[in-house]
Subunit: 339 residues, 2 copies
Amino acid sequence: MRQITQEDIARKLNVTRITVSKALRDYPDISANMKRRVLETAEEMGYLPNEIAQQLTTRTTKTIGVIVPDLENSFFSHVVNSIIDTATSRGYQVLLAVSRENVELEKKNIRNLIGKRVDGLLVCLSQLTSDPESFDFVRKMEIPLVFFDRAFTDCGFSSVTFDDKQGVSMALDNLVQAGYSKIAHFAGYQTTNIGKERLEGYRLGLMKHGLSTREDWIIEGGYELMDGYRSFMKLGETASFPEIILAVNDRVALGVYKAIAELELAVPDDIGVAGFGFMETVEMFTPPLAIIHQDPREMGRLAADRLIDEIQQLAKPGEKIKLEESFHWNKSILKNKKK
Amino acid sequence: MRQITQEDIARKLNVTRITVSKALRDYPDISANMKRRVLETAEEMGYLPNEIAQQLTTRTTKTIGVIVPDLENSFFSHVVNSIIDTATSRGYQVLLAVSRENVELEKKNIRNLIGKRVDGLLVCLSQLTSDPESFDFVRKMEIPLVFFDRAFTDCGFSSVTFDDKQGVSMALDNLVQAGYSKIAHFAGYQTTNIGKERLEGYRLGLMKHGLSTREDWIIEGGYELMDGYRSFMKLGETASFPEIILAVNDRVALGVYKAIAELELAVPDDIGVAGFGFMETVEMFTPPLAIIHQDPREMGRLAADRLIDEIQQLAKPGEKIKLEESFHWNKSILKNKKK
DNA sequence: CTGAAAGCGCTTACAG
DNA sequence: CTGAAAGCGCTTACAG
C-alpha cells in the first residue's frame, strides 16, 4: 500500500536518506560505488520519486496549464496536440482544461490551474471574455502566460495570433492577379475581433487593387453553417452576382456550398468559394475548399515554446507574435481565369 | 515574488497557522467570528491554497492521467473532451499525454504520470503495445486504471470498449430486412483486434441470416484511405458486384467513395457504402455515410466515471464494459429496397 | 475555542 | 565522501 520512499532505500543500505537523495541526483560528492548501489536498490524496489514532494521543495512543477474553449473543434485539438508534443519534448507535462466558451468556467479553470501551481499558462480566451480580472490575478502571481489565437493584447502578456489582414490581402492579390474582380465577403459579427479583422483586410485588399467595395456584397452574419446558407440566399436578391465568395470560416463556407447545391449551381463552374481553415478543413469539401491557411501545429508549437522560454527566463513577456497565413488554391476556384 | 501562505494570514490576525488552516476548511471547532475574519483576510491578500502542499499531506492529487494515441484523430479528441467534462464536474483535473502510437513513449508517459502521483489513469493503448509490463507496474503501485477503446483484457483492470460484433450484427439485420443480400466487407488487418472482431461479426451476421459468405467479397487491407481505394479496384476484378460495401472504418470508406467517383459510378444508386464512425464522420461524406455508430462522448463519460468510482472505492476494478453500437442509415444506402 | 507536535517525501546549503 | 539541520506549505489527531 505504502509507496517506496528514499527512506526505504536508505534503510536497506544502512545509510541516511540524504545520501540516497544525492546519489539519485548524481551529486559529485557521492562515491561512484554508493551511487551504483543506490541506483540498483532503487530499481530493485521499484522506486519512483514522488514528484509532488519534489515540486514542493523545488517550487516548480514542470507542468503547464492549457485552457481551450472547445476540444471538439478540430482546430483546437490540433493546437493542443502540438502543444503537448512541444511540451513533452522539453520535459513539461500538460494539465488540460476546457472552458466551453463559458466565462465563469474559464475563471475557475485559471484558479484551479494556478492552485495546482502550474509553471505557466497557455490560454485561448473564450469568445465572450471581456473582463481581464482573472488575468490581473495571474500577473500578480507572476505566472508566465501566453495567449494563443484569441488574446487580450493590453495585459502585458505575450500572444500568438494569426495575421488575418495579411492573409486576406494575400488571397486577394492572388485572385485579382488571376483576373477576378467580383469578390464578395460573408463576414462575421463585427463585435468580434475575427469578424472585424477579416472584413477590414477585405476592404483594404480591394482598395489596394483599385477595386470598389460593393456594400451589398458584404453580408454580415454569424459563424455557423446556416449563416453561410442564409447569406448566400440573401445574395440572390441583389442585382448581380460575384464571381467568388470569401467566407469568414469553414462552417460558413459549408453553408454556402449547401445553398449552391440547392440552387443547382456548381462550385467552381458557376461560382468560386474560399474560406479560412487548415488542411483538415479542406478535406471536408467537395470540391476541396480554397483556404487562407492557418496552421494549428505551428501555432501550438510557437505558443508552447514561447511560454517555456518565458518560464525558463530565456525570453521576456509581452511579445506579440503574428503568424503569417498563406493562400491555398484548390478546386473550389477556377485558376488562371484571365478574363 | 513569494506566494501568500496561511502563515501570512495567521501573522496578520495574530493567531497560529493551525487556526487559519482549520478556519479555511470550515472545521466545526473554530468560532464563526474567526472563520469570517480568516476568510476575509484570505480574500483580501489574494490567498490561493498551495495544492502541491495539500497533495503531499493528503496523498491525493485530484488529478487523473489520460493517455491517448493521437489527439489529431477527432474520435479521440471527442473522447478526451468528454473525459475532461466528466472529470471537471467531479472535481478532478486532467493531465493529458499523447503516445503517438509509440510504445516507448507510452511507457514513459505512464511513469511520468505516476511520478506526478495521479489518482488514476485512463489509457487507450497504442496499436503495437503487446507487453503488459508497464501495467504490472501500475498494478503493483495499486493505482486505479481504466482502459478505453483499446484494452488489455487480462490485466485485472476495467475497460470500456465497443461491442463491434453486436454493431455489425445489427447493421446486417437492418440491411437484410431491407432486402439486401450482397454485402461485401473491406476488412482491417487480422492481426489487430478491431480487424478481427469486425470481420467475425460480419461472418456471424451473414450466417445468422442464412447468407453464404463469399470469400472474394472479403478484402483484407489496412485502415487508410488508399486501402479502401485499392480494395474497391480489386473488387472490380471479381465476377459479380455486391450491393453494399461495409468498410472497416471511415478512412477506408472515404477511399471507396473516391474509387467509385473515379469509375463514374454513384453512391448510392450504383452501390451502397457503410462504415464505422460517429456523427462528425458522417458530415465528411457526400452523400452522408451510413455508420455503425460509436459514440465517443459516451465512451469518455463512462470511462471517466468508472475510473473516479474506482478511485473513490465506489466500484471494484476488473469490470469489462461493452458499449452498444447503433446503425444509422443515411443517404449512402438506398432504404427500403425491397427486391 | 485555540494551539503544539508530528508528519507528508523530498532537496539543499552547510559541517565534519 | 557522508550526514545533521532546516525547510517547502499544508493537514490532522491530540491536548488544553
